[in-house]
């Protein structure tokens, strides 16, 4: 259990995430602590770049226009590109000296997990860190779907067994987010063909033509149910428009949807 002062410190920092990236959300004032935001999309649609953008926003000091908070980044498929993050920081810092870069990077914690079991056990052992680092308020999992096929294969015929580990991870993540007032961003990859049956469509029929997303839920119910915002990423193919990427952001409880475009430059995501 955490000491009272660290809880207070975290509550004090509560307002800080509102300015993380307003363009990503359909509602003003998002995200708040306790939100679980899922980034979903096929390969090459800018999910990882968006994560770097958020990380940069967090770890840059207030004097540089950032939020000056700490981030825990869980990388499940050896995807994280430190050099790319550094390039983004170099473009965004007024004074991009080695010292400044390292000071920013000091607010980032990275961990690699090689299986869903290790992910679960790692979450348990990270719990302590959230207690001792009150300014650690952003948790990122890239991606939470990485072990899908391996878990399915290991679970044999039983869907229950196949989903067991991810279900436990989802439940524990929910507990961590709730008890330590975190915001969780997790990416899921589009690895299935879009379902043709309208019954499985994510959007109500009237909105389908407006927001046609390549989405077919495949992760366990425990995960589906804890997500508060789902953001779909896609790439625009006519490159006449300079903004090459699109996000369709859905606030699940309030049923608000918004569509925005962004481009990716050397300095990272630009809306």
């Amino acid at each position: 259990t955490c000491a009272a002062f660290s809880l207070l410190a975290r509550l004090e920092g509560r307002s800080s995430l509102k300015n993380l990236e307003p363009c990503l959300f359909a509602e003003e004032g998002s995200p708040v602590h306790g939100d679980v935001i899922e980034f979903h999309g096929p390969e090459g649609t800018g999910k990882t770049e968006m994560l770097y953008h958020l990380v940069a926003r967090c770890i840059i000091p207030k004097s540089g226009g950032g939020l000056e908070v700490e981030v825990m980044f869980i990388d499940t498929d050896y995807h994280f590109d430190m050099l790319r993050l550094v390039t983004i920081l170099e473009h965004r810092l007024v004074q991009s000296t080695e010292e400044m870069i390292k000071q920013c990077l000091g607010r980032l914690f990275l961990v690699n997990c090689s299986s869903s079991t290790q992910l679960l056990l790692t979450l348990y052992s990270l719990e302590n860190m959230f207690c001792t680092h009150p300014s650690l308020c952003l948790l990122i999992v890239d991606s939470i779907s990485a072990f899908y096929w391996i878990d399915r294969s290991n679970g044999g015929e039983s869907l229950n067994l196949q989903e067991m580990n991810l279900k436990k991870c989802a439940n524990f993540l929910e507990k961590l987010v709730r008890e330590h007032h975190l915001a969780l961003f997790a990416t899921t990859q589009t690895i299935m063909q879009k379902s043709t049956s309208s019954a499985e469509s994510f959007f109500p029929l009237k909105l389908q033509h407006e927001f046609d997303t390549d989405y077919r839920p495949y992760l366990c119910k425990s995960w589906q149910q804890m997500v508060t915002h789902r953001i779909f990423f896609s790439k625009q193919f006519n490159s006449g428009n300079s903004k090459g990427f699109t996000v369709v952001s859905c606030h699940l409880k309030k049923n608000n949807v918004v569509k925005r475009s962004f481009s990716i430059a050397e300095c990272g995501v630009q809306f």
Binding site: L83, L108, Q118, T122, W149, R152, S153, Q189
Partner: protein
């Protein structure tokens, strides 16, 4: 799924195991996720002892977080950029092959994938005097072609032979042989005292689709699971030992956009950091003037769509003579 057994960690005795098992606590995950006060009561075990065991189990089986600043320091000293042997391809890749990453070369048969792989092997071995592991799953590796490339780049026979010796070729014909070969490399590298300055910097796999394709389409998840296991091995190898891993893959045409995309499906598409499409232009009978192009389909550093021309004719992968102007330089 690690099952609890005596001696797994200090403090975990056989008696404890028996009593835990009787109360449905069988694996490490069961133990760690249990309410220890509850377990202590039900099993009549010391709460303090259980907490101590939990701490040790977590330390043993969970991953340890690293600080960004420390990681950056490490990367600065261990990352290298390797020349491919073709300056225009190097330009496309933002100076060359980056260690710590998986780079994919995709193209139809005859588009030059194996040629580029041989050029990379020759360039790294001769130019950097570093070792290369070449896993050949198609039977396309020809030592004579490799030797030809080396001869064109170095005059000294001694140098050529040394370069040949630094290239280790293994023929693997199914995914299990491939996984086994990679495991061997991992074991060998783990034993080295200072792994990031070891002589092996490059692993070339020609091709990945040859061993994975036969597994897909049957009992879906089995094949995909093995493919993702291979993907994980490759990325781990690249990251942990600072290697440049190069893989080749076939292409298919996307039904909705009509564009060429890598074979092996959506799950595989996320795996490489960089993807280059190799294409062969010009009529098939005009062997001597076959123009091959490389375009950037995926990159963590550069905008996609860039295209350069490669000259792989009867000679090695080299820039054409100044008399013939080329694009992309």
């Amino acid at each position: 799924m690690v099952v609890l057994r005596a001696g797994l960690c200090p403090g975990l005795t056989e008696e404890m195991i028996q009593v835990l098992r009787a109360n449905s606590v069988r694996t490490v995950v069961d133990f760690v996720s249990s309410d220890l006060e509850d377990v202590s009561q039900k099993c009549s075990l010391s709460y303090k002892a259980l907490v101590a065991v939990r701490r040790v189990l977590l330390a043993q089986f969970s991953a340890f977080p690293a600080n960004g600043a420390d990681l950056y320091e490490e990367l600065k000293s261990s990352t290298a950029i390797l020349p491919t042997g073709s300056p225009s391809l190097d330009q496309l890749l933002d100076s060359g092959l980056y260690t710590g990453e998986v780079t994919e070369l995709m193209g139809t048969p005859g588009s030059g994938k194996t040629q580029v792989c041989l050029s990379i092997a020759a360039s790294v071995s001769l130019g950097l005097k570093q070792h290369v592991l070449f896993l050949d799953s198609t039977g396309g590796f020809t030592a004579s072609r490799l030797y030809q490339m080396l001869r064109a780049q170095a005059e000294d026979e001694e140098e050529q032979l040394e370069a040949l010796q630094r290239i280790q070729v293994a023929r693997v014909f199914d995914v299990y042989e491939m996984l086994s070969a990679l495991q061997e490399v991992r074991d060998r590298l783990s034993q080295q005292a200072v792994s990031c300055t070891g002589p092996l910097k490059t692993v070339v796999i020609d091709s990945v689709s040859a061993v994975i394709h036969p597994l897909l389409g049957g009992r879906q998840s089995e094949g995909l699971a093995i493919m993702m296991q291979l993907a994980r091995e490759l990325k781990m190898l690249a990251k942990e030992f600072s290697l440049a891993v190069v893989v080749t893959n076939q292409v298919t045409r996307d039904s909705s956009t009509g564009l060429l995309k890598p074979a092996l499906g959506r799950s595989w598409s996320f795996v490489p950091s960089t993807r280059v499409l190799l294409e062969s232009k010009g009529a098939a009978w005009e062997e001597a003037t076959t123009r091959r192009s490389a375009s950037l389909a995926k990159s963590p550093r550069q905008p996609t769509g860039m295209q350069v021309e490669l000259d792989i004719g009867n000679s090695d992968v080299q820039e054409p003579s100044p008399a013939t102007p080329t694009e992309g330089l």
